[in-house]
Assembly symmetry: C2
Homo-oligomer: 456 residues x 2
Amino acid sequence: MSKTKKFLLTEKQMPTQWYNIIADMKNKPGVSISPRTKKPVTKDEMCMLFAEELVNQEMSTERYIDIPDQVQDLYKIWRSTPLVRAYELEKALDTPAKIYFKNESTSPAGSHKPNTAIPQAYYNYKQGIKCITTETGGGQWGSAISFASQFFDIDLKVFMVKVSYFQKPYRKLMMNAWGADVVPSPSTMTEAGRHALAKDPNCSGSLGLAISEAVELAVRNPETTKYTLGSVLNHVLLHQTIIGEEALMQMEMAGDMPDVVIGCFGGGSNFAGIGFPFLKKNLTEGTNIRVIAVEPSSCPKLTRGVFHYDYGDTEGLTPLMPMYTLGHNFQPADIHAGGLRYHGAGPIVSQLLKDGLIEAQAIPQLETFAAGMVFAKTEGIIPAPESTHAIAMAIREAKKAKEEGKSKTILFNLSGHGMIDMYAYEQYFAGNLQNYDLSDETIRQTVDELKTLIDL
Amino acid sequence: MSKTKKFLLTEKQMPTQWYNIIADMKNKPGVSISPRTKKPVTKDEMCMLFAEELVNQEMSTERYIDIPDQVQDLYKIWRSTPLVRAYELEKALDTPAKIYFKNESTSPAGSHKPNTAIPQAYYNYKQGIKCITTETGGGQWGSAISFASQFFDIDLKVFMVKVSYFQKPYRKLMMNAWGADVVPSPSTMTEAGRHALAKDPNCSGSLGLAISEAVELAVRNPETTKYTLGSVLNHVLLHQTIIGEEALMQMEMAGDMPDVVIGCFGGGSNFAGIGFPFLKKNLTEGTNIRVIAVEPSSCPKLTRGVFHYDYGDTEGLTPLMPMYTLGHNFQPADIHAGGLRYHGAGPIVSQLLKDGLIEAQAIPQLETFAAGMVFAKTEGIIPAPESTHAIAMAIREAKKAKEEGKSKTILFNLSGHGMIDMYAYEQYFAGNLQNYDLSDETIRQTVDELKTLIDL
């Protein structure tokens, strides 16, 4: 009874600023390039797509950015989230390591995504924007931005990859419950959608195509309609730093500090959220905390991709960004961690990796699900398939500590729970899942296409 | 920013005892009667079915019962739960009333049910029990006892009503993820199941039949196997009082005290959980807090049933208990608040209602879903269909406060979230749901059958 399991902040203790790591980076992330002009994207061009204050944040070099009062109030619906000491997991692994996790699964949408959905909806609302468009694959982002938009009476249109629309009805229904209009993509509402349907009437869609549809609708009505994105971009990563800023304070409450900080990696948002505030300590206080991004072996942009300019979407509508990428035509295997099936990494994270300031690891699918099961049995929470990647890495580190007979403090981010992803577990239980060994040749095909694009 | 939204207890502040309201009742609940001997059920008979310590609690008249350390440690996985001031709901209703809710949806199983699942698994484990059987309808209880059993390496067999087994695959998969064996009921594993299948090979099952199967399997192996139940019984209600004991402290932190406390009502467990600690104040300090149980109009045992001895199950295998009931053969309409589709009320709650110490209200289905939508839009959480009954009642009370121009403090229990019940919302959005007006004649049919049973 003496052992404290959860470390919580009162509402008064909650951070009131997001941390902008760009301020502390010696090598800043490279500029984005307009696909039309081949020149650096201007603020005006960005403002066609995004609310102005989000563009300001995208380009900001301020170290801290104030969280608006109304955003703080909405964060209080579920924040601060608990920092949890995983005693039972430690015991099961018989490790000398101390394992902590930050539990971001407690939001009403079940993941960390509302951390940026709420400010994105807020800044659009402040600008008088009446409609938001976005895309969603697995549905975590779509449900988060639905949750957020309703507070500001913004009409939201979500283009949901058609195969997910039908395979994940609960996600779609959550968006509906929060008032969003969910459209299976490709749709007949856009040129991009009609084009895809003309080529293949049975086209089941892709995230890249859904982005193209959402962007097209926003560009068509720039006065009333803006586009939002749930990862990759600087301002999105910025908002997520609330996770790590809280965790820093909570680790101090626990009288501890991590040697290793771990986040799963799709576009970078939850990884940046947990990792950047600890990197700040490295960059400004000279600590030596290892910060590890964990990606699926089937989509290994950080560990096997190239650092190059690439598009954010398949169709080539977004600006070109300098990033670790597998090429925008890379088609990831149909793994169940839908949020990690993205060809590229955000520019900030890519620069940090290039400069050796963070580490990256790839883990195969079956190891991640096995780790998820160990976590459900010991700590009681069924994790999202994405989050199992962080758990698997934490387990690897804890086992290494045991082998080396060294104590070590490990912190990972539990980005979401798996209650709405039980179909993935069903496939795992049934033995229907597999690992995917990518050949160098497969990767080279889509990476080589990048040579035709602007070089770094 | 000055307004506190959530009131949280530190782990050190958490209650260490459950509250047993029987100690403070002038009229104790009536004794249970053995269906075979027609005499009061003995402790030995109870111990055939349940772990001995649970039987002791069932019969205890002690005012407080210590929560074992190991149970407290497991509670810490998600407890204490937040007490939340529903500012946005208040604003939307333009009411002078203050509305608070206790958020029990934050458990890894998504509802309040783990509060009793964990001690039930624990006491069985302490007694060396290797197997537990239970039944589940909608799946909230089944997933909670699965979650709990795994911590003690107990084999769990859940008889899940066959129609739910196929309609609610996510619930079944959650149980599987936590290591439980889930069997669609009726099954061929038991006499009761084989009997039902012989009569109708396509039988889709019922909660009463699933109880019969689970009880039969336990009775057959009394040394190794025990039965568990998720509501109705005294010890189950006892464990849930952790909810209200926390809420009492949290209301004091908020500098407030409710005039009205509201819980939805199935068998009584979440209602007792939130309500009994506030009733304690009425019974021992002379306060006058209204405590309201809210049932669906389609299953109105508290508002339209009779107070009589009745069985807990359809087949008549359980002891006869004195309760408000619609008769154990009452067949509730197929509403989506599956946890509230039960013919009777637990003996304690029934006695409290008979003595005028609590109130009861019935609310039709469409009003409850409409209330759930208002709550999702204002407070951001999609509530379980069961919990929408408490929300609907809180809204009624808040509107009354506005009409009367009086301030009032309302507290309700949010017993669970609705993320795994989105199918119900889909039916609501599609306009497929209806209210059910029960005729007096319908109720009289099953109530009249009680005359053949032992009288009070």
